[in-house]
């Protein structure tokens, strides 16, 4: 709160609000870094790239890239005591563009990220029913069967695509704004506004909840998940290391990318949070703590996710077997109980021998049930969070309780990340004297939230999820890599590594370890450059960009090409943030030139 109000007058900072204690700062960083990506992206990567073996590249990247870059951002924020724009201006006036680029990317992120919180609210409010609305299909108009679309796919997918999103068949068909989703989005923004209303005073208290509650829920889910029938199947499947994946370059790139984006580097949020620190705060220790907790949470969350996967896969496998048994019983009029899961294969052979014709007729309907195939369905993103998990939850006992807990956890994770994003936008605004003196910070926060809410209504339209995917895939990826690369080069080579080292020694009182220096100067920039080159070549090689559209008539996703204007929007997203960096340098250069000319003409 305002405990650290400075009594000095006229020095570089006026009374800057501070965190009440270092714990609030650590919790804020954890709350920001531990987000939905830990829950829905890491398990997917683990599954795709070698199970337990993926942990090797993951930890290597954490040490080479994660910890050094996190420490650097925290140190810059704590030293400069300004938001991203001000901090980079101090390092070099030509780098004000880096700060602006961070703010632009944060703005894009906050536009679309809060929609996830809106969806979490929607599912949370629907969890107070018995049975859960995604457990059964709705009936069709003449009540003789279930809705056609729901029959073709599953009830959870139907609830997500039709009743939540009401998704249109393609991006071109925009459709109308869904008023239910718009309401939930408004509520989500009101909640965010409530948390950031008073700046660090309110944020500092909120992060106690948003940082710790997800862990409580994860522990409950861990206990519940491990005791579920079939959970062991999922865990064995996940943790069996497939070490041959280590030779696949995509494994290493995915590990690097995951560490990079999971910590939330480059948005300016970490700089903003650190700027509210006491100057003597030991941010080195905090950087190590936060990055380790972030990675540990990812692994913890994937244990939970894989026990849930195992449960769901076993449940589906047994349902499949039961369906086959019923089909055979009905077709051959055998006594109930004569076919079980154990004797199914022998009975199938026997029936094939004794009634070849009828069996041949039945063959197309007899699916080969395989547990492996069920476990192999790797899902990430909103699909995992809202479809797979809700499918598992509907089969648990007391499903309403687990549903409420789960979606409250998603909300806490999402709001925690939103606090960081909005801090990245608001701190530079409140730092700038032009705006801060005219308007109180409640008004500035309110205006930012309001603008974001209005723009966010785009994502509540019928085609909204497609626009969401565009923003999710392209708004932050390339720009962040470039921003962090410029940041690292700026600190090491423009500001000077020795000068920075001396500043840190003054702040913290300890000498900088050679490990940090080597990573900052060589390893991390090289890694980021290689990631950048990889992404560029990937985009160029794939040619046209495609997206997954939901086809209601078939009940599954189909691949389509982006229309021209969508590609233009993607280009605009990437360009508007990356171009800030050179533009900022150019504007400063021109201004300095003009000032010099004015001075010389006066003299």
């Amino acid at each position: 709160g305002l405990a650290g109000v400075s009594t000095r007058v006229g020095v570089m900072d006026k009374s800057r609000p501070l965190w009440d204690n270092p714990v609030q700062f650590v919790f804020a960083c954890i709350s920001y870094a531990v987000g939905l990506g830990n829950v829905w992206r890491f398990p997917y990567l683990c599954q795709m790239y070698g199970g337990g073996g993926f942990l090797i590249p993951y930890f290597i990247m954490l040490i080479v890239e994660g910890m050094p870059l996190l420490y650097m951002e925290l140190a810059v924020g704590q030293r400069m005591r300004q938001g991203s724009i001000g901090a980079w201006k101090i390092i070099s006036p030509y780098l004000c563009g880096v700060g602006v680029a961070s703010v632009v990317v944060s703005f894009f992120l906050s536009m679309y990220y809060n929609v996830i919180n809106a969806w979490a609210f929607w599912y949370l409010f629907h969890s107070f029913q018995d049975p859960l609305p995604w457990a059964t299909c709705p009936l069709n108009s003449n009540r003789t069967g279930y809705e056609e679309e729901c029959e073709k796919t599953s009830s959870t997918q139907y609830f997500w695509y039709r009743q939540t999103l009401n998704i249109s068949p393609s991006l071109e068909v925009s459709g109308a704004v869904q008023w239910e989703q718009a309401l939930c989005l408004t509520l989500a923004w009101l909640v965010v506004y409530l948390c950031i209303l008073r700046g660090t005073e309110s944020t500092g208290k909120v992060v106690y909840v948003t940082a710790s509650l997800p862990y409580c829920v994860l522990i409950i889910y861990l206990i519940r998940g491990l005791t579920l029938h079939g959970a062991v199947n999922g865990l064995i499947y996940m943790f069996t290391p497939k070490l041959e994946q280590l030779s696949n370059p995509k494994t290493w790139i995915s590990a690097a990318t995951q560490i990079f984006f999971s910590l939330g580097l480059g948005f300016g949020s970490l700089i903003a949070f650190a700027s509210y620190n006491e100057p003597s705060n030991n941010c080195e220790r905090h950087a190590i703590i936060v990055s380790l907790i972030n990675s540990a949470t990812s692994i913890f969350a994937s244990i939970v996710t894989f026990s849930i996967y195992g449960f769901k896969a076993t449940f589906n496998y047994e349902s499949c077997i039961n369906k086959v048994i019923l089909l055979l019983l009905n077709a051959f009029d055998l006594e109930e109980g004569s076919l079980t899961a154990d004797n199914l294969n022998e009975m199938k052979d026997y029936l094939m021998a004794t009634h070849p014709q009828e069996y041949a007729q039945l063959l197309p309907q007899l699916k080969n049930c395989s547990l492996e195939a069920e476990l192999d369905t790797a899902v990430q993103g909103t699909g995992l969070a809202f479809i797979v998990y809700s499918e598992a939850i509907k089969n648990m006992e007391v499903s309403q309780l687990y549903s409420v807990l789960y979606f409250v956890m998603l909300l806490m994770l999402g709001i925690g990340s939103m606090l960081g994003n909005t801090a990245a936008i608001l701190t530079p605004l409140t730092d700038s004297k032009v705006i801060a003196t005219r308007f109180p910070k409640e008004v500035i926060s309110g205006v930012v939230c309001f603008i974001n809410c209005i723009i966010g209504l785009i994502f509540t339209m019928e085609a909204g999820n497609y626009w969401f995917d565009i923003f999710n895939d392209y708004a932050a990826t390339l720009s962040l890599l470039l921003i962090v690369l410029v940041e690292t080069i700026a600190v090491c080579y423009i500001y000077g590594l020795r000068r920075f080292e001396k500043d840190l020694h003054t702040m913290i009182g300890r000498k900088l370890n050679w490990y940090w220096k080597v990573m900052w100067a060589f390893a991390s920039p090289l890694l980021i450059i290689s990631l950048f080159i990889f992404y560029l070549t990937d985009y160029i090689l794939t040619g046209t960009l495609q997206y997954q559209a939901w086809d209601g008539t078939q009940g599954q996703l189909v691949t389509k090409d982006y229309p021209g204007y969508a590609l233009a929007v993607i280009g605009l997203l990437v360009a508007s943030s990356t171009m800030c960096i050179p533009l900022g340098a150019l504007v400063t250069f021109v201004r300095k030139r003009l000032k010099r000319e004015r001075v010389s003409t006066v003299a």
């Binding site: 409010f125 059964t136 003789t144 006491e278 109930e336 109180p440």
Partner: protein, 226 residues
Amino acid sequence: MLQVLLLTFSVVTVAHAELCKPDAQNAFKVRLSIKTALGDNAYAWDANEEYLFKAMVAFTMRRYSTKTTTQISNVLLCNVTDRVSFWFVVTDSSKNTTTVPGSEVEAAIRMNRNRINNAFLLSDKTLQFLKISSTLAPPVEPSTPVWLIVFGVVLCLIVAAIVFLVVAGIQQRKKKNKESTERENLEEKGEVTITIENGIPCETLDLKAGHINGVFSADDERFTSL
């Protein structure tokens, strides 16, 4: 005499066999899953249960249309399997050789499906009439969707909290402004008496007019916290 009786009996049986066979006209297949429904309490399917079934179908036909006087003997069962599935057909009570049209039977059974299910302690899923689709019971929907109620509660709480914080912030700022104006008034009153220190009036020593030596102020930062 005996021969005539035997002849008529065989004719009737043959006629019945003609009327009730798999895929016959106006015949329906029924499938029961007793073990699935009742587990350990499952009863065995025997002639008595068949009699009950015939009775239920006769009852259904009578209930459907007061004109018909269907007897239990009018309901013919055949091809009973271990699955417990069989075919049945309802013959016309007035003429024993024709069957009641399938549409009538279907309508009758649809109307009284619940009674038939309950007689056998089964449900629509475990007592299946294969060509007769059952109307599924729609889920109970409250007049106001539940989610809107929860949404309303949460929304009110959040808005109340926001209003409270904003108003508290405005009041705090007003108090601070009042305090600073009071301090200014006190200073103005103090200026009436000029205090002199070492021959220099104290007003000129006022911080607003003086210079700050940046070196001393910056020094505070160099000390690390204990």
